[in-house]
Each structure stands twice: as structure tokens, then as C-alpha cells.
Subunit: 472 residues, 2 copies
């Protein structure tokens, strides 16, 4: 697997880099160089060398921030307007292979792949919309020197860790066995069981010292597919879950306070051009499954309303390479892209639209959005209440009121935030997810410390609410 | 008022300090100084000066971190294990005087103080256990150069602010009118009404643009006395409240997620000595009101159990300078200090004990503690469930099992964390409170952005829970 982030800046570092000092070799060389031009008197020479060393050392320090020795201290100076915190220390569990590469292997085998016993080439994680689990895992396995801009640092000793990352490929595990047409009988029963693997994972974890220490509260799981980990969710609900939405978790299992909403890994290619209205002739585009369960039932109604509108393209389409190509083409040439709820409030389509600079029109009342502390989605998307969206004519007339200038403004904002949704960009989705994870740490530490000293072990919740005008 | 934090490091800075460069005057002087010793050749001289400038500039940069231009960017380098974030930008409301110095003036007048019309000397905020409101206000009014180590920076333009500090002296306001003995009739009715002032404050705020903008969600109030702001709490419950505990607020008004627990301002003097068992002959000390309301009812039972125990001092005592002197003496010469609940779960006594290096014995099942993400209170205090504490003999026999070494360990830990409870220390309680405030910012921003784009305005809470084993 090639490194996902290009190597930049320098190759130094490591999990526990000390404040760097210029290498003695470099210094002697510089010294010699200048020595040849300034020979006497001795005092001058010494002073000169001293200043040179000082200049080099200080420059080094100025460009590469010094490392802090203690985890809790922060480095600050008077009148300064920035604050330096130590990077959050994350331990990557070395899970038994069955939970990581074993899942990739089973996925490949179930699709006719075969590996000879001697094959040492790395297994390739297959591309799909919930592959954030792969990007986060491979980010942590990279040398620190390549993890440019990361707010977390990997530590090799769990004793040093503040958080524990459990790299189970929970979303891939769900789709190991290919979906078969209803009624068809498989030639032989599947050899892989996602449910068994979920349970085996939790059993393995529950034997680990650091899981038991804080009841999993400082552990981080990726459960990006809304069904991922469903079998064991109650046993890992203390942990930080990286999810796509909260459509299939109860409030006691997941919340905006405890967990993190991560973007889908977009499936169509990023629009390479700039902002423009002329190149986007279609007003509104949608391509996808017309019929969905639960929250997605609205889709059929939207199809009926929209399919005969001028400048509007709505197409039924299933997951395939061909569909993706058609969707890319459509999203790259439309001003607005419809984003109705899928089976759960979120869907990959939103992120496809964002990287296409196609303004998302979100018709999904309970949607949760990634990085919403950083991104004001009103600047990049149009939100329409479901009840309004299904009124004939409403949606299209609303969209026609947007001027070209307003559309260009949205596109500029989309271009600004696009990097947050690019998993393979240098300071993209991966770093932002770690940033979100690191922001949870104070509350996690508070809950851990508090939980241990509480003398009464009663259920007890702390909440933050919106629109709460009713007095109890 | 003298500055509470001694001036250190340098005098430069200001609310929006740019990366500093050495002053030209200084440079010319240094240049001249070295010029006299190195006269030729010209190249050498120029090179020398260049290096000197570089060394000075780089040193400057290394010691005083460069300012970041954009609020959202962070400064990171490869392999580095620290992360630099911009300081959180806080706007200090210039409130009408009645909410700040007016409260001090009324407090003074109600105690026979008088001020001539021409008196320009600053009003002195009176010392009391809930004076964090004064320390935070005066910290923000200080020049940035003196706010060493602060994770927040004051901005003069509200448009630049991320948080808004409302410096109403809510706890002082509660005690403006002296408590009179029950049944006594005051000579004339009090001229000051705390309730009126609370309501006037909220009415004033509700007219402010930046209050309306985010429904007060990015506003910060000090409500340290458990009764402070009680009249208007439902109108400010969206805001961040700095409280002593949650004893008198409902879960929809205050929580560990939204709000911050701040320490009382300790009322007895800090123990100046080091760790020691020999100098502390008393096993357990308590001095305070024997009879309290609600959570404090346990006190009378504890008195009965403890008052005849050997090596134990329990004394009834009211608030007075004399009592404080006796309490100082007692806490400085005891190994353990009893901390039963007051009318609410918290009390100032805990912080008096901490700065006395007297190990707190906390008998208050629902107590919330300041800075619990940073401080593991099990290392500095002994927690005893109320039900056990009131069993005769239990408490004293438990405390007698602690060895001298164990007691010294507790004392060492107390010494380590003491600074968090010192409001007038350079990197003490004030900076730590701002740090706690700044850690709330991501969630505040998330809730603000989310609230504005939600199409359905329904009450909706996000929570984090402990001991939640019951499935719904």
C-alpha cells in the first residue's frame, strides 16, 4: 500500500520525539566553513561561532515547536494569542488478524479471490463508502514523520496512552458476504460470520487490562456503517464511536457529546474545475435508489414530484461502477444535488455532492453532520423540511430563486471546506477526525475520574440540549 | 486594585499581538556595541550583524510563540508532539455599572460605608468565598501582557469574539443586604434588590445583538453561589454557567457537559510548610455549622459520632475572622479534614483543606468537583459514602488505617495540585477556569451551527452517562 499522505517537511520525529537540536555534524561543518573566512582574533571567532550556533538552534526551535515533557503542562507566553497543547497520545491495539486483515481476506475470498500460502503481498482493502476505518488505521501505522499536522501521536506503550484505538474493520465485516438476490440459495453456507467476529472482538477486549481499567470509556471504535457493531453495541457504548449518523443507535448508546460523526468516503471523483454557473446546466440532480426503508420512504414521493420538472434530472440507479460514472457526470454539471434521507438520515451522496461543488439540498430532518463545530453547513447546503419538500412545485421554485451570484458563493464555500471530506488529502478528513477525537478527551477524562470516585453507583447523565423551552 | 498576577517575562503584547520583532532601537545599540570591536572587513561586519539579528529574532520567536493569523488554522510540524491552537477570543461586556461596581458600592453602603461624590478611589470588592466572579472580571481587564499563560485572549470587537463574558457580580449581589437575626425589623427597607438586578441584567442582555444571535449559547456567567441568578436561571440556561455545584439547578439548567464547576475562593490561609506527619497531631478536624438545611442534615449525626473520639476535633463555629483563624490553626495541624455536604453538596471547606495540605474526607455523595478532567481526586482525598460515615466508629477506624507514608503521599499530591485552587497565583485557578471554558467551545460551536440549520425545532438533548447498565 503506498503512503496515503505524501512525505513533507522533514523525516525526523517518532512517537516520543525530544526537542530537536542541530546535529553535531552540521554544526562542525558550518563552523569550518565560516572559520576559513574569519581567522582572528580568537575572541571574535568564538563570539561568531557562538552566535551562529545560537541562531541555528533558535531558528530550529522556532520552526519546529519544542516538545513538552509533561502531558498536562501547556506552553504559553505573555500577550501571545496561541496556546500549545501536547498532542493526544493514542495506542493502536495490535488486534488478532481476524479483526483486521482477516476481514479483508474473507471479503476477497467471498468474491472468488484466492491467495497462495506463500503470497506475501499486502492485502488490499476494497474501496467502499465506509472505508474511514481503513484510513484511520493506516494513518496510525504510518511513521510519525509522515503524519504531518496530526493532533494525535501514536504511542507504543499502552501505559502512556490517553486513548485506545480499536482497528476492527466493522463496516467491511458487515459486507464480507455478498448480498444475494432474495430467494437464491448459496452454493455453500458462508464461512465468515460478522456477528461471531463482533462478539469475539468484545470478548477479546474484555480480557484486556486497559479495557477493564476504564470500562472502555477511553476506547475509540469506527462504526461508520449504521449497522456496524450492532450485535455488541451495548457492550461498547461507553466508548467513543465514529458513526455516520445516530439513526440506529439509541440515545444511551450514542450522542453528539460522546461520539463523532464522520464523513462517508465519497465514491465519485472530485470535481477538478473551479466555481462556475455556466458549466452547470441542470438545476437539480439526483441519482440513486428510489425505494428505501424507514427514513427513505420519502424518496418515491420526491421522484413523482420531480421527474417531470424542467432542468431536473432524477434517476433510479443502483450501486455500480457504471452508475458512479453517470452520477459523477450528473453532479459535476448540476447546480443543486438532492440529498434525501437513506435508510438512516445520512448517505454517501452528500459527500459526493460536496466534492462535486454541487450544492446539496438536504431533505432529511434528523440528519447529523460531520465536523459541525467547524463547518456551518448553512453556507454550503440548502436545508428543506421534509413536509415542505413533498409539496408539488415547492422545491423547484425555491431553487429557481437563487441568483447566479448566490450559487457562486455556495460553490466558493464548498471549495473552502472540501478538504475536510477528502480522506486521502494531507490535512483532510483523517486529521480532522483525530482533532474531533482529541476534543473529546477532557470530557472522557472527567467521566473516568468522576466515575471512579463516585460512592453511589447510580445511572447519571449529563446533557446539552437545544430548543428546550418546556420547563419540567 | 493592584494587579493580581505579578508582571513577568515581558511587557509587550496586547489583544491581537503580531509576531514580535526586536525593536529597531535595541538593534542599533547592539550593532554599535559590537561594531566597536569588529571594524573590518565590511563583509565580516555585515555577516556578523546579520547573524546577530537572526539569533535575536529567532530566540524571540522560540520563546514567544508566533501568533496565528486565522482563527481556525493550527500550526503543526511533522513528528512534533504538540499542537498549537489559537487562544479563544473572549469579549468582556461593558455592563452598566449597576451590575458590577454598583453591586460593590451597595454592599459597602449597606455596611455603613459612605463615598463622597468626588471620591475617585477604586471600590474594593469585599473578600468572600464566591469571589471567583471578581478574579475572572479583573483578569480580563488586565493588559494582555500581564495575562501570562492564559488560554483566552480578550478582544475589543464583539464581532471577533467566540465567547462573551457577562461580568455581573451575581454572588456578591445575593449578599448585599446583610442577614438580620430572625424576627428583627430593619430600620428602613433595603435599597438594593438582588432580584431586580438579576431581571434588569437579563432584560439588558436580551436587547443585545450578540445575545440574540446565538440565544446566549456562547455567553459565560459566573453563578458561583448556589443561589446566584436563581430568579433568571431559566433565561440564561443556554449559557455556560460557572457554578460551585449543581445542587440547586435542574438537569435542563446545568450539567457537567454544558457548565463548569469552579472552586470556592479559600478563606483560610495557605499552609506555608512542606509535607509532614509529625506536625499534624490531630487525626481529623472539622469546624463549621453543626446544623444545615437539606444535604447538610448529616452534620449533626457526624458531630454526635465524632465529638468524643480521641485525636478528633469537631467544633461548631460560624463565619467570622476569629473562626477562620481557629480553622486555619486546626487545618494546619490535622492529618484529615472532614468535608460533609453543606446546604448543597459543595462547600468552601474543601478548598480550605486542600491549601492546608489537610487530606479532605469527603462525605457528600452527590458532590461535583472542579477540574476533574485534570485532577484525580482519589489521589488527594478520601471519599466515604454517607451511609457508612454515620456508622459509629467507622470513619475514625478507617482513617487510623492510613500509614504515615500513605498520608505523606496524599500531602505530596495536594501540594502538586494546590495551585489550581489559588485564585491569585500566576497560573492558578483563573487560568484553569479559562482553560475549562475554552474546552467547551467546540461543543458550543457545534450546538450553535446545528441549532440554526435544524428544520424541526424540537427539544433534543445529547448526553454522556455513567453507570448506565439498564437497557431501555
Amino acid at each position: 500500500m503506498p503512503p496515503l499522505h505524501p512525505k513533507t517537511m522533514n523525516d525526523e520525529g517518532g512517537a516520543k520525539a525530544k526537542p530537536r537540536k542541530p546535529k553535531p555534524a552540521t554544526l562542525s561543518n558550518s563552523h569550518a566553513l565560516f572559520n576559513s573566512t574569519i581567522r582572528k582574533p580568537c575572541l571574535k571567532q568564538i563570539l561568531f561561532t557562538f552566535l551562529l550556533v545560537l541562531a541555528l538552534y533558535a531558528l530550529f526551535n522556532a520552526f519546529f515547536n519544542p516538545t513538552l515533557d509533561t502531558a498536562s503542562s501547556i506552553f504559553l507566553s505573555a500577550g501571545d494569542t496561541s496556546v500549545t497543547y501536547p498532542a493526544v497520545k493514542v495506542y493502536l491495539y495490535d488486534l488478532p488478524t481476524r479483526f483486521t486483515y482477516g476481514v479483508i481476506n474473507h471479503h476477497s475470498l467471498a468474491r472468488g479471490g484466492s491467495r497462495s500460502a506463500g503470497d506475501k503481498s499486502p492485502l488490499k482493502y476494497p474501496g467502499h463508502q465506509h472505508m474511514s476505518e481503513w484510513y484511520l488505521f493506516s494513518d496510525l501505522t504510518r511513521p510519525e514523520s509522515e503524519r504531518v499536522g496530526s493532533p494525535v501521536v501514536r504511542v507504543s506503550n499502552p501505559e502512556d496512552a490517553e486513548l485506545f484505538f480499536v482497528p476492527f474493520f466493522s463496516s467491511l465485516s458487515l459486507i464480507v458476504n455478498p448480498v444475494r438476490p432474495a430467494g437464491s440459495v448459496p452454493e455453500k453456507p458462508p464461512v465468515y460470520s460478522d456477528e461471531e467476529n463482533q462478539e469475539a472482538l468484545v470478548e477479546w477486549l474484555e480480557r484486556q487490562e486497559y479495557w477493564k481499567k476504564n470500562n472502555g470509556r477511553d476506547h475509540v471504535f469506527v462504526a461508520s456503517d449504521p449497522n456496524a457493531m450492532y450485535r455488541v453495541i451495548d457492550r461498547v457504548k461507553n466508548s467513543v464511536l465514529l458513526v455516520s449518523d445516530f439513526g440506529r443507535v439509541r440515545p444511551d448508546q450514542g450522542s453528539l457529546v460522546k461520539d463523532i460523526v464522520v464523513p462517508y468516503s465519497h465514491r465519485i471523483r472530485t470535481y477538478p474545475g473551479g466555481v462556475s454557473v455556466d458549466k452547470r446546466k441542470t438545476l437539480l440532480f439526483f441519482m440513486g435508489n428510489r425505494y428505501r426503508k424507514e427514513g427513505g420512504k420519502i424518496r418515491d414521493t420526491l421522484f413523482q414530484i420531480l421527474e417531470n420538472e424542467k432542468d431536473v434530472v432524477v434517476k433510479h440507479g443502483a450501486q455500480s461502477r457504471e452508475s458512479r460514472r453517470a452520477a459523477s457526470q450528473g453532479m459535476h454539471t448540476s447546480k443543486f444535488c438532492l440529498h434525501p434521507a437513506g435508510d438512516t438520515p445520512s448517505a454517501c451522496r452528500l459527500f459526493d455532492a460536496i466534492v462535486s461543488l454541487c450544492i446539496p439540498v438536504i431533505v432529511s430532518d434528523s440528519i447529523e453532520l460531520p465536523f459541525e463545530d467547524t463547518i456551518d453547513y448553512r453556507k454550503i447546503a440548502v436545508f428543506v423540511e421534509t413536509a415542505s419538500a413533498i409539496k408539488p412545485g415547492y422545491l423547484v421554485s425555491k431553487l429557481r430563486t437563487f441568483t447566479s451570484d448566490r450559487i457562486l458563493e455556495y460553490q466558493k464555500e464548498l471549495k473552502e471546506v472540501k478538504r475536510y471530506f477528502e480522506y486521502d488529502e494531507l490535512d483532510g478528513a483523517v486529521n480532522e477526525i483525530w482533532r474531533q477525537v482529541s476534543k473529546k478527551l477532557p470530557l472522557i477524562k472527567l467521566m473516568i475520574n468522576r466515575d471512579k470516585r463516585l460512592v453511589k453507583k447510580e445511572p447519571d447523565c449529563s446533557c446539552i440540549c437545544v430548543n428546550q423551552t418546556v420547563l419540567r
